[in-house]
C-alpha cells in the first residue's frame, strides 16, 4: 500500500512539474542510446542529431542523454528515470526499446515518446525510421560490380525486419550487377562489440569473401578489411577515416532535421503521434562519397541508381521477385508495399542460409 501511495505521489509530482515546464522552462529533450556516442556509427549519428537540436534552439531546450542502455527491462528503468526528471520528449533510438517505450509511455501520458525503427505506436508514442534499404541497394550494386571472387559477406546484427530488408536489398542489387554473386550472412547478435565484429569480418575474409558489408555499429570491420585488402562500406556514419579504401562508400543517417522538427512540434503544441519513414529523397539517408577505389563507370551507375531512388522513379523492391523458397512475391513491375517491408521476415530467392528465429 505504502509503495503504491509513494508511486502515485511521485507521478502526481512529475505531472505537476511537467505542466509547469510547459509555461516557463526550456523544453527538456531526452535521448536513450544503445551504444556509446563514440562508436563512430549509429549512436554517434543520433548524438549529432541531439547537437543539431541544441544548435537550432539554443537555451530554449535542455538536452539529456543516457548511453549504453541495454535493450530490454533495463531500458524501462532508464526511460522512467528520464521521464521522472521532467523530460518533455524522449527519443529511444534502438529497435529493442520498442516494448519498454510503450510500457513507460502508458505511465507518463503527458510525455511524448519517439521510438526509432519500431512499429508500435500510441497516442503519445511516434515511430520514425529511415529507409536504409535504399542505401543498401546502392551498396549492393557496387559490391556486385567490385567483387572478384564473386563472394560477398554481410555482418548482420539481429534477425529483425530492418536488418533483413537490408540483406535482401543488398543481395537483389548485387545479383543484378553480377549474376554469379554469392552472399554469406553472419549473425553476430550484437549491435556493438568491436572485437566480435572484427572476428566476423576476418571469418568472412578467411572464407574467400572480398566485399564486407556490415549492419553493426563499430568501425572494426573496416579495420579488418583494410588489413586484408578487401573493400567495405561505412554503416550509419560516414567512417571517413577509412577512405579511400577499404571504405568505398557509406550510408549516413541524418537525423538532425527530423529531431528539430519534432522538438519544434512539442514547443508549439502541434505534436501528434505519427509514423515517419523517409529515405534518400527527403535526405534522411545519405550516400557517402564513392571513392576513387571504385572505377568511374561503376561509380556513375551507382550514382544513377541513387538519384533514381531519390527521385522516386525506382523502388529497390520492384518485381519480379521470388521469396527464398521459390514462391512468387512480386510480379513484374510490382512494388512492395510498406506494410510488407515493415514486417519483412523472409529472404528473397538466391540467398543461402536461414533466418534465425
Amino acid at each position: 500500500m505504502k509503495k503504491r501511495t509513494f508511486l502515485a505521489a511521485t507521478l502526481a509530482a512529475t505531472m505537476a512539474t511537467g505542466a509547469f515546464a510547459d509555461g516557463h522552462e526550456p523544453v527538456k529533450v531526452g535521448f536513450i542510446y544503445v551504444g556509446p556516442i563514440g562508436d563512430g556509427g549509429w549512436t554517434y549519428e543520433h548524438h549529432q542529431g541531439l547537437l543539431a537540436v541544441e544548435a537550432e534552439f539554443g537555451d530554449k531546450v535542455e538536452t539529456v542523454y543516457q548511453e549504453n542502455v541495454p535493450e530490454g527491462a533495463d531500458a524501462e528503468r532508464a526511460l522512467t528515470q528520464m521521464a521522472l526528471q521532467g523530460a518533455d520528449i524522449i527519443f529511444t533510438t534502438s529497435f529493442g526499446y520498442m516494448d519498454p517505450t510503450i510500457n513507460v509511455a502508458q505511465k507518463f501520458p503527458d510525455v511524448k515518446f519517439e521510438h526509432a525503427t519500431g512499429y508500435k505506436r500510441a497516442d503519445n508514442v511516434s515511430t520514425y525510421s529511415a529507409r536504409f534499404y535504399e542505401g543498401r541497394a546502392v551498396q549492393g550494386h557496387i559490391a556486385g560490380r567490385m567483387t572478384k571472387t564473386n563472394k560477398i559477406g554481410y555482418i548482420a546484427s539481429f534477425p529483425i525486419p530492418e536488418v533483413i530488408r537490408g540483406i535482401n536489398s543488398t543481395y537483389i542489387h548485387a545479383k543484378k550487377a553480377n549474376p554469379d554473386v554469392e552472399m554469406n550472412v553472419i549473425w553476430v547478435y550484437t549491435w556493438f562489440d568491436p572485437a566480435k565484429e572484427a572476428d566476423a569480418a576476418k571469418a568472412l575474409i578467411d572464407n574467400g569473401i572480398d566485399v564486407v558489408l556490415q549492419h553493426t555499429d563499430s568501425t572494426a570491420p573496416q579495420a579488418a578489411a583494410a588489413e586484408a585488402g578487401v573493400i567495405s562500406f561505412g554503416q550509419a556514419s560516414d567512417m571517413a577515416e577509412y577512405k579511400p579504401a577499404p571504405r568505398v562508400s557509406s550510408i549516413i543517417d541524418n537525423w538532425g532535421p527530423y529531431y528539430i522538427q519534432r522538438v519544434r512540434a512539442v514547443m508549439d503544441g502541434s505534436w501528434e503521434s505519427v509514423d515517419t519513414w523517409d529515405g534518400i529523397g527527403p535526405g534522411m539517408v545519405e550516400i557517402g562519397e564513392i571513392t576513387d577505389a571504385v572505377p568511374a563507370d561503376v561509380k556513375a551507375e551507382a550514382e544513377a541508381l541513387r538519384d533514381s531512388i531519390a527521385a522516386g522513379e525506382y523502388s529497390p523492391f520492384t518485381g519480379p521477385l521470388n521469396k527464398q523458397d521459390g514462391s512468387a512475391w512480386l510480379a513484374e513491375g510490382e512494388v512492395a508495399d510498406d506494410g510488407t517491408l515493415a514486417g519483412m521476415g523472409f529472404y528473397v530467392e538466391g540467398i543461402t542460409g536461414e533466418i534465425p528465429n
Binding site: G35, P36, I37, G38, D39, G40, E67, N68, G153, N184, V185, I186, W187, V188, Y189, T190, F192, D193, P194, A195, K196, A198, D199, A200, K202, A203, L204, D206, N207, G208, I209, S218, T219, A220, A223, E241, T352, G353, E354, P356, N357
Partner: protein, 310 residues
C-alpha cells in the same frame, strides 16, 4: 561433415589471436585470486589498459611502448583497488564492481580525442622463412608477439605456483592469511604484488584488443570480456593450464561459429551463437567434476578481508 571453404590452419591461427585478450586477463585474475583476493574490476582494468596503450602507441608510434603503457595504466587502477580493499578494508565485491564502472567512465574520458584514429600497425613475428612453412607456419611462427607472451605467461605462472618459494607463500596467503601472517610472511605485500600483476595482465589484454584485434579505440570496446575472464578462472578451478584451455576453447568456438556461418554451413545460428558459452562451461565443469578435488581448488581465504590485528 563438409566444412566447405573453412581452412583449419587459418582457423587455428585466428582462434589464438581471438583468445589472447581473455587469456591474458584471466591469467592475471588467477594470480590475484590465488592470493585470496577477488577483484571484479577486470573489465575496468582491461578498458583502461586498452585506452592507455592506444594513446601512447598513437603518440609515440610504437606499439611496444603502447603495451608497456597499457600494463602501467591498468596497474594504477589495480593499485587503487589494492589500497581500498587491503588498507582500508573496503568490501572487495563492491570495490571491484566500482572499479569496473570507474574504468569504463575514465577510459571514455581519456579517449575523447582518440575516436576514429588508426593506431600504428603492430606486425606479426617473422621467423626467417619458418613463417612460410605449411600448417605450422601460420599457427606457430607467424603470430603477434603478444600471443607468445601470453603463452609464456601461462607456463610461467604454472611454474611459479608449482616450483618457487614465493609461489608457495602466495598460495599460503590465499589459503589461510592468518597462518601465513603468523609465520611472518607479509600478507599485504604479497597481495599488493598479486593485484598489481593482475592489473598489468588485464591491461595487456585490453591493449591487445585496441591495438591488434580491432585496432581502433571505441568506447566500451571490451564488451564484457573481463567478465568472461573472471568466469573462466572459476570454471578452470584455479589452474593455469585449465585457464589456457578455457580461454582457447571460448575463443575457438567463437571463431569457429563465425566461420561456420561465413561458410554457409546449415546449422541453426541460435545454437552456434550460444555455443561458446555452453561448450566452455560444459567442458570445464566436466574436467573439474571430481568432488574431492573441487572442494580444495578454491583458495580458502578468497574474498575474506585481512587485518593484522585480527
Amino acid at each position: 561433415m563438409d566444412f566447405g571453404s573453412i581452412n583449419p590452419v587459418l582457423l587455428i591461427a585466428s582462434l589464438m589471436v581471438a583468445s589472447t585478450p581473455i587469456l591474458l586477463a584471466a591469467m592475471g585474475e588467477l594470480m590475484v585470486e590465488k592470493s585470496g583476493v577477488l577483484n571484479l574490476g577486470v573489465e575496468g582494468m582491461m578498458i583502461v589498459g586498452a585506452i592507455s596503450g592506444f594513446i601512447v602507441a598513437v603518440e609515440t608510434g610504437s606499439p611496444a611502448l603502447g603495451f608497456v603503457a597499457a600494463a602501467a595504466g591498468a596497474t594504477v587502477m589495480a593499485l587503487l583497488f589494492a589500497v581500498l580493499t587491503q588498507v582500508f578494508l573496503s568490501n572487495q565485491v563492491a570495490t571491484g564492481l566500482g572499479l569496473t564502472l570507474f574504468g569504463l567512465g575514465v577510459s571514455s574520458l581519456m579517449g575523447q580525442g582518440y575516436v576514429g584514429i588508426r593506431p600504428p600497425a603492430s606486425p606479426r613475428m617473422e621467423f626467417f622463412g619458418l613463417s612460410d612453412l605449411p600448417v605450422v607456419g601460420p599457427i606457430v611462427f607467424n603470430q603477434h608477439p603478444m600471443v607468445y607472451v601470453s603463452l609464456a605467461l601461462v607456463a610461467g605462472v604454472w611454474w611459479y605456483f608449482r616450483s618457487t618459494r614465493s609461489g608457495l607463500i602466495l598460495r599460503a596467503v590465499g589459503e589461510s592469511h592468518e597462518a601465513a601472517h603468523a609465520l611472518g610472511y607479509s600478507v599485504l605485500g604479497t597481495r599488493f604484488a598479486a593485484i598489481a600483476f593482475g592489473g598489468a595482465c588485464a591491461g595487456l589484454g585490453g591493449a591487445f584488443l585496441s591495438l591488434v584485434i580491432v585496432p581502433q579505440w571505441t568506447e566500451g570496446m571490451t564488451a564484457g570480456r573481463g567478465w568472461i575472464a573472471l568466469a573462466i578462472v572459476v570454471f578452470a578451478s584455479w589452474r593455469a593450464w585449465r585457464v589456457l584451455l578455457g580461454a582457447y576453447l571460448f575463443g575457438g568456438v567463437t571463431v569457429l561459429q563465425l566461420n561456420l556461418q561465413a561458410a554457409g554451413i546449415a546449422i541453426p545460428v541460435e545454437l552456434l551463437s550460444m555455443s561458446p558459452y555452453l561448450i566452455t562451461i560444459l567442458v570445464l565443469v566436466i574436467i573439474s567434476s571430481d568432488k574431492r578435488r573441487a572442494a580444495a581448488s578454491a583458495p580458502a581465504s578468497l574474498g575474506r578481508p585481512f587485518h593484522a590485528s585480527s
